[in-house]
């Protein structure tokens, strides 16, 4: 029997992930522990989101095993999906959407309200709690979805390419927020992206997804020119992001801009 590993939050072994009967990724083995900041990197349509969905039980594994660690479960998970497409004009507010993220947690109404207000505050939308979701900009809506994940006060945060609707300031501010939570509270993060520069600034671990497989390990070992060229099929320059180093965090206020 494997020894109890309280730090292990999410893992898979010999996993084959895909849609229907079509395998997209084969023989994937991965372990995510508390305090780690994982980036799943790769070009479009290589299976990054499919892998994350399989790890979280959204898609069934075609083979192998995937799931939470021994002391973990979906109660400790915050999830920011790639898309959240609401029916046109569905009446809803930021408060209601964030509160929906608390499903499955035994909370009183007061605790729920407190968590929702706190999560909306973290993404700079506390004052907008009762505003209609549809009157918000694309960036504000995306921040509501991030708040929905943070409201669970997770030990593991899984984020699937969330920055597509965001302007640069808000994107930076959210990344800073994730980095701070990771550094100060040991929040484990699995972040699907194709932005190598952001990964170079924040990742402790990297999984390069390419050619139907996965290469995983510490960021320092995998973020080198040869491995990135192999994964992306072309040379990938990794430019540092000024003022955005892991060791010198500079928090940006999230506010007016969407």
């Amino acid at each position: 029997m494997a020894p109890f590993d309280a730090e292990l939050l999410l893992s898979c072994r010999d996993l084959v992930a895909g849609h229907g009967r079509t395998a997209v990724l084969r023989d994937v083995t991965l372990q995510v522990r508390a305090g780690e900041f994982w980036f799943l990197l790769g070009t479009n349509a290589t299976g990054k989101s499919t892998l994350l969905a399989t790890l979280l039980g959204v898609l069934p594994p075609l083979r192998g095993v995937a799931g939470y660690g021994p002391g973990s479960g979906c109660a400790e998970l915050g999830y920011v999906p790639q898309r959240c497409e609401l029916a046109q004009n569905l009446p809803t507010t930021a408060h209601e959407l964030v509160a929906l993220g608390l499903v499955g947690l035994p909370l009183s109404r007061a605790e729920r309200d407190e968590r929702v207000a706190d999560a909306l505050g973290q993404v700079g939308l506390r004052e907008q709690a009762h505003r209609s979701y549809w009157s918000m900009s694309g960036g504000q809506r995306q921040r509501v979805i991030v708040a929905r994940a943070l409201a669970r006060r997770p030990r593991l945060l899984c984020v699937d390419e969330p920055m597509s609707h965001l302007d640069l300031v808000t994107e930076r501010a959210l990344l800073e927020l994730f980095a701070r939570r990771n550094r100060e509270e040991g929040l484990a993060i699995v972040y699907v992206s194709h932005d190598v520069a952001v990964a170079a600034a924040l990742a402790t671990h990297v999984a390069l997804v390419h050619h139907g497989g996965l290469e995983a390990g510490p960021a320092d070992a995998l973020l080198d020119a040869a491995k990135l060229e192999q994964a992306y099929g072309a040379p990938v320059p990794v430019a540092p992001i000024p003022g955005f180093e892991r060791t010198r965090p500079r928090l940006l206020p999230i506010g007016g801009a969407s």
Binding site: H19, G20, A53, L56, G57, V58, P60, G73, C74, A75, L77, Y79, P81, C84, L86, A87, Q88, N89, L90, P91, T92, T93, E96, L97, A99, L100, G101, L102, V103, G104, S132, R148, R152, C158
Partner: protein
């Protein structure tokens, strides 16, 4: 007028009760359908259920003797529910498996059900009338057993929705996140089966126009009136039941078909709600 309505209770009481229970049941489930933006699925299921009833009528009249089970109301209810559940599962499964879009599958089933139901029964002397009555909801005919079964379904549905409304709403809005947060992967099929069961049974009792109207119109009205999604689970059934009761009274007073009055009333309310929303948006 109220006295006349009360006097007619002995004759129409079960039918009115069944109609109100259908309104209550389908309007609650309709919130889920409207939030998922799958209104046409309801029409396809209702149409497929009509095909089931047409096949049941055909089987009963052609291949069984008078008094046999295949000529009973129970048999027709069973085939209506079976066809409705099968359709709901096929549309849910087909869309999830990315075999084809939900719209394509529901469109196919809607057309197959509509044409098939009329063709199957085309040469039957009474069958065609029965199917046309069913499509237009020309008569709500319910037995005491129908009322009992509908009441049971209503109670189960309301209890479940009250208990799990947040999970239901999250699942309707964002199924991937709901699954990641612990809602069962099979919830999609379970929801589809429940929709099929409720709609199939309601179809047999009240016909397509009324069943489909009660499924989508109250939820659409609630969608226009509410500021948040969860209150729709309260507003929609309230609107449906009040409209259905008013329709029973108006229909009885004016000698109109209550199902058609109810649908017209709900359409009027929806138009008013849309108008109100447009004015608020200015």
């Amino acid at each position: 007028m109220i006295e006349a309505f009360r006097d007619a209770w002995a004759l129409f009481g079960d039918s009115w009760l069944a109609a109100w229970l259908v309104a209550l049941l389908l309007s609650v489930i309709g919130v889920f359908v409207v939030v998922r933006d799958q209104i046409f699925v309801g029409a396809a299921i209702a149409q497929a259920s009509t095909l089931g009833i047409a096949l049941g009528l055909c089987l009963g009249s052609e291949w069984s003797s008078e008094g046999s089970f295949f000529r009973s109301d129970s048999f027709l209810s069973i085939v209506a529910v079976l066809f409705a559940v099968a359709t709901a599962l096929v549309t849910a499964r087909g869309g999830a498996a990315r075999f084809e879009s939900h719209e394509a599958i529901t469109g196919f089933i809607f057309l197959l059900g509509g044409s098939g139901a009329l063709l199957v029964i085309a040469h039957s002397p009474h069958g065609l009338d029965d199917v046309q009555r069913l499509l237009a909801s020309s008569g709500i005919g319910a037995t005491r057993r129908d009322v009992f079964v509908l009441a049971l379904l209503c109670a189960t549905t309301l209890a479940f929705v009250a208990w799990r409304r947040r999970e239901l709403l999250l699942f309707a809005i964002d199924p991937a996140t709901a699954r990641a947060l612990g809602v069962r992967r099979r919830a999609d099929l379970m929801a589809a089966a429940w929709l099929g069961l409720a709609l199939g049974l309601s179809m047999r009792v009240s016909g397509m126009l009324y069943a489909f109207g009660c499924l989508v119109l109250p939820a659409l009205i609630a969608k226009s009136l509410c500021r948040a999604a969860l209150p729709m689970f309260v507003a929609a059934p309230l609107i449906a039941v009040v409209a259905s009761m008013a329709a029973a009274w108006l229909g009885h007073a004016g000698d109109f078909n209550q199902a058609q009055v109810a649908v017209a009333l709900l359409c009027g309310l929806l138009a008013a709600a849309w108008g109100g929303r447009a004015l608020r948006g200015r």
